[in-house]
């Protein structure tokens, strides 16, 4: 790379809409762009979804009635185009076709929802309909299709899209940057998984309940998931997101020991026993998370979040609920989440959940422990149902 290219890259500003599957891949993009010589300060993400964001930057840009998380992307685009103190040069909005899921190799596929993958095409149209807003603001809209589940294909996909936009870009450095992206993402995930494990160890040690959230990654966005889990946490129940559940083999083999021994599954990540059409990465993970929640004794409650007009979640409502409830674990779902946080009703529901958690958790933990091997890797000494609480 020439000095001139290096200098140009250091000044380049990239804006990424923090929406949809960027919620579990943002570390990949950070690692990737930094490896290409962009300053971390110059890789900006839009803020969390909010009504104000949509009103100020996204209104009138929608092209079709759609699920709430996709609708919101217009606001993220608008904020990056019109709402930056320092203008961005590139609006980078990856069309994430498939995801690097921890279930890869055990499911049929690892695809993103069709709306997630196509959202950039759809949202872009709203900024082109009357005039080319990108050209007018001298912003390059770069929306590469990326198959994150097939790492070998990614360098070319990103090189083709960014060539001519990132000065002096070469395919080999793109490949190195992709590796860096995966490594950054893996390190980030590992860190969060380790934290989840600490929570679980604490729960196991103290015989305390925790709550598993079964939702799509973007329900972590306060504007999409409305921080329902944070309200529960405030009541004293630690929260686990299925996406960051620890994946150490020793722990997983313990969780699924009986299923494996009876030949019901081939591997702890196998979900064929509950969800044979395992094509969609996020759905697969939710189903797997439900299985985990059903087995881990200290997860005494699972909450399901689903957005307004989500088409992907619909077929999995019953199986997820059945998986969780059949095990005696508490299950609550919040569906059709949109822009309004019905604060009053959420508060009442959170209080209800909290009441049930307090009343039923000891019994649930005991009952679930009876189905588990006493030699739990979360504890140094064996656990059993008859241990005093």
């Amino acid at each position: 790379m020439s000095e001139a290219d290096r200098a140009a890259r250091a000044k380049l500003r990239v804006g990424i809409p923090k929406a949809l599957n960027v919620w579990t891949t943002h570390q990949f993009w950070l690692g990737f762009f930094q490896s290409l010589g962009l300053s971390p300060r110059n890789v900006v993400f839009s803020s969390d979804t909010s009504d104000e964001q949509m009103r100020e930057f996204g209104s009138g840009r929608g092209t079709v009635d759609c699920c709430y998380p996709v609708k919101c992307v217009s606001g993220h685009y608008g904020e990056l185009i019109f709402g930056q103190k320092r203008k961005i040069d590139i609006l980078f909005s990856p069309m994430i076709y498939s995801l690097a899921s921890f279930l890869d190799g055990h499911a049929m596929d690892s695809l993103a929802c069709p709306r997630v993958m196509a959202a950039p095409e759809n949202i872009k149209a709203g900024f082109l309909r009357e005039k080319d807003v990108f050209a007018e603001n001298r912003i390059a809209h770069v929306a590469p299709l990326v198959t994150l589940a097939e790492p070998k294909l990614v360098p070319r996909q990103l090189f083709d899209a960014l060539q001519g936009v990132v000065p002096g870009l070469g395919i080999e450095e793109t490949a190195r940057a992709v590796e860096e992206g995966y490594a950054t993402l893996a390190a980030f995930n590992e860190n969060l998984r380790a934290r989840s494990r600490e929570i679980l160890e604490w729960c196991a040690r103290e015989r305390r309940p925790c709550v598993m959230v079964l939702a799509r990654p973007y329900h972590m966005d306060p504007g999409i998931g409305h921080e329902i889990e944070a309200d529960l946490q405030a009541c004293g129940y630690p929260i686990l997101w299925l996406q960051y559940f620890p994946t150490d083999p020793e722990l997983l083999n313990w969780i699924f020991r009986a299923d494996l021994a009876e030949g019901l599954i081939k591997h702890p990540f196998d979900i064929d026993d509950v969800w044979p059409s395992s094509y969609s990465a996020n759905t697969n993970e939710i189903l797997w998370g439900a299985k985990v929640a059903a087995r881990v004794p200290w997860i005494t409650c699972a909450i399901r979040l689903a957005s307004y007009e989500c088409g992907m979640d619909q077929p999995s409502f019953t199986p997820v609920q059945q998986i969780v409830e059949r095990s005696g674990t508490l299950f609550f779902s919040f569906q059709e989440l949109d822009s309004t946080k019905a604060a009053g009703s959420v508060k009442i529901r959170v209080e209800t959940i909290s009441y049930y958690l307090e009343r039923n958790s000891p019994g649930i933990i005991e009952a679930k422990l009876r189905h588990m091997d006493p030699a739990c890797p979360l504890l140094r000494r064996p656990v059993s149902a008859d241990l005093p609480a």
Binding site: A112, P114, N122, E262, L264, V274, A294
Partner: protein, 509 residues
């Protein structure tokens, strides 16, 4: 310590089925148009099974589907789930649930990816559970695998002869449907086309029922590609159409049907009988051939391989083989089309559709019809294949909403493209049809304007054209081909151009 996982929830899995059991049972299937379904029944029969297409889905089925499965389904899921459920429910009342599980099995395409099409079985399963029919057997066919082998128990073998037979049945009925739709709007004697089509479907049914056995694998494939067996039957179909007298000087707008696979394919309540409704409103319908969808599925696989060339060993060779297979597939369709005088509409080139859609919709975006919706709309418009595009968009469909959104960019660039996206809920007919009617009114005006322009261009009026046609009686037959010139879309305008071409009075464009 006795640890067991038996108490946990498990998904439904069909009980194994033996040959003896399947001989007692009837295979149920559905989701295509009636011509294809009737001939696919014969394909099953030819393979030694008894099969029956489910009755066409109705609004009652929609209600049952909504009631039995989770809320928020796309409407094709509700229709197909309710369709199966209502059939089984009625049978269970008649012969009891145990006999239903014994006498019927259901086979459906599935396992195809990201949208709910890959998860239909979930709704079926839920419906079966809710009806107390868990013992009923439901099998999924992976539409990408022509030779899947036997289902557990060995009774149902999804093998090459069965799959290729079904594909050929679809191709034959596709071209028949194409000829039918190019004929009926112009028939002089009302009802004649339908009667002939009915006969022809039975003719095809018989031919497929008696299809010779040519081995289990490549032998059967080679035979289907090379044989004149089906071509001869189609020639007979063509001969039967010859009795139909037509008046092609009726000025009619052509409406191209696109949209989600199920909605564009079936003819009935699920799409408000839109094909017949459009014809009754004075349009000629350009139906959506199933072959185009199959061609698209091949393209999807080609595209995946294209991305792997240079990255994965052997990808180039696989790509070449698949492209060859796609050419053979298209050649087979064209051969059948030729047997019907090249009158049915041609299959658009998939790579041209991809090129046209590229600025608006990435070709790898999958689910539903992917970039084809945008591609077909532009192909139809630019090549003057139709006056208007009617896109059947299912309520709560995921991929379809995305393509419609992208169409905002297309209509912005091509404001004269007449595009009617009709949201189909299944029970909001008046609203949908009145929306369609508004755009159809404009399409009619365009068809008239185009006809007038062609009159000026050819110097021919209908009054002058009529005796010219009568002087060549073949031109009044359904089997006479009026080519689409690319100058005008409508049949009447192209008929004038044909006459003028023959007389040498056609002016240059």
């Amino acid at each position: 310590m006795n640890i067991s996982a038996k108490h946990h929830f498990r998904a439904y899995t069909p009980a194994p089925i033996t040959r003896e059991q399947i001989d007692r049972a009837e295979i149920l299937f559905g989701g295509l148009h009636w011509r294809a379904e009737r001939v696919v029944e014969a394909v099953f029969e030819n393979m030694g099974y008894r099969a029956r297409a489910l009755p066409a889905a109705t609004r009652d089925d929609l209600m049952t589907g909504r009631e039995l499965a989770d809320i928020g389904q796309c409407c094709p899921t509700s229709f197909t789930t309710g369709n199966l459920a209502n059939f089984l429910r009625a049978e269970a009342e008649r012969i009891g649930p145990a006999a239903v599980a014994d006498r019927y099995v259901y086979v459906t395409a599935g396992s195809c990816g990201a949208c709910r099409f890959g998860q239909y079985h979930q709704s079926y399963e839920l419906a079966l559970r809710n009806m107390g029919l868990e013992a009923f057997r439901l099998f999924l066919i992976d539409q990408k695998k022509p030779d899947q082998g036997a289902a557990e128990g060995g009774g149902l073998d999804i093998n090459m002869p069965l799959t290729i037979g079904a594909v050929w049945a679809i191709l034959c009925t596709d071209v028949l449907q194409g000829l039918e739709y190019r004929t009926r709007p112009y028939e002089v004697q009302a009802g004649q086309t339908d009667a002939v089509v009915g006969d022809c479907v039975e003719l095809l049914h018989e031919a497929f029922r008696k299809r010779p056995y040519r081995g289990k694998k490549w032998g059967t494939l080679a035979w289907h590609m090379s044989t004149g067996y089906f071509i001869n039957v189609l020639r007979e179909v063509f001969r039967r159409f010859d009795v139909i007298e037509v008046d092609r000087l009726r000025v009619k707008p052509i409406v191209k049907i696109t949209g989600e696979f199920y909605l564009q394919t079936v003819e009935g309540d699920p799409n408000y009988n839109i094909h017949r409704w459009l014809e009754s409103e004075g349009a000629e319908v350009y139906p959506a051939a199933i072959a185009v969808w199959l061609d698209y599925l091949i393209r999807c696989e080609v595209q995946k391989l294209e991305d792997k060339v240079g990255v994965e060993k052997g990808a180039r060779a696989k790509l070449a083989a698949l492209r060859g297979a796609q050419r053979l597939f298209r050649w087979s369709f064209d051969r059948m089309r030729a047997a019907l005088g090249d009158i049915p509409f041609e299959m658009p080139d998939q790579y041209e559709l991809r090129r046209l859609a590229a600025p608006y919709f990435h070709h790898r975006l999958s689910g539903g019809e992917g970039d084809m919706l945008v591609g077909k709309a532009l192909w139809t418009h630019k090549k003057k294949k139709a006056h208007m595009i009617c896109e059947l968009s299912p309520y709560a469909c995921m991929p379809n909403t995305m393509s419609i959104g992208a169409m905002a960019g297309v209509t912005g660039k091509y404001p004269d493209l007449l595009y009617a996206p009709i949201e189909i809920k299944g029970d909001a007919e008046v609203h949908a049809l009145s929306r369609c009617q508004m755009i159809l009114t404009e399409a009619k005006k365009r068809a008239i304007r185009e006809f007038v322009e062609v009159m000026e261009r050819t110097g021919l009026t209908p009054e002058e054209a009529k005796p010219l046609i009568d002087a060549h009686p073949r031109m009044n037959r359904a089997t006479y081909r009026i080519p689409q010139t690319g100058i005008a879309a409508g049949m009447a305008a192209n008929t004038l151009l044909q006459l003028a071409g023959a007389r040498g009075t056609r002016k240059a464009a």
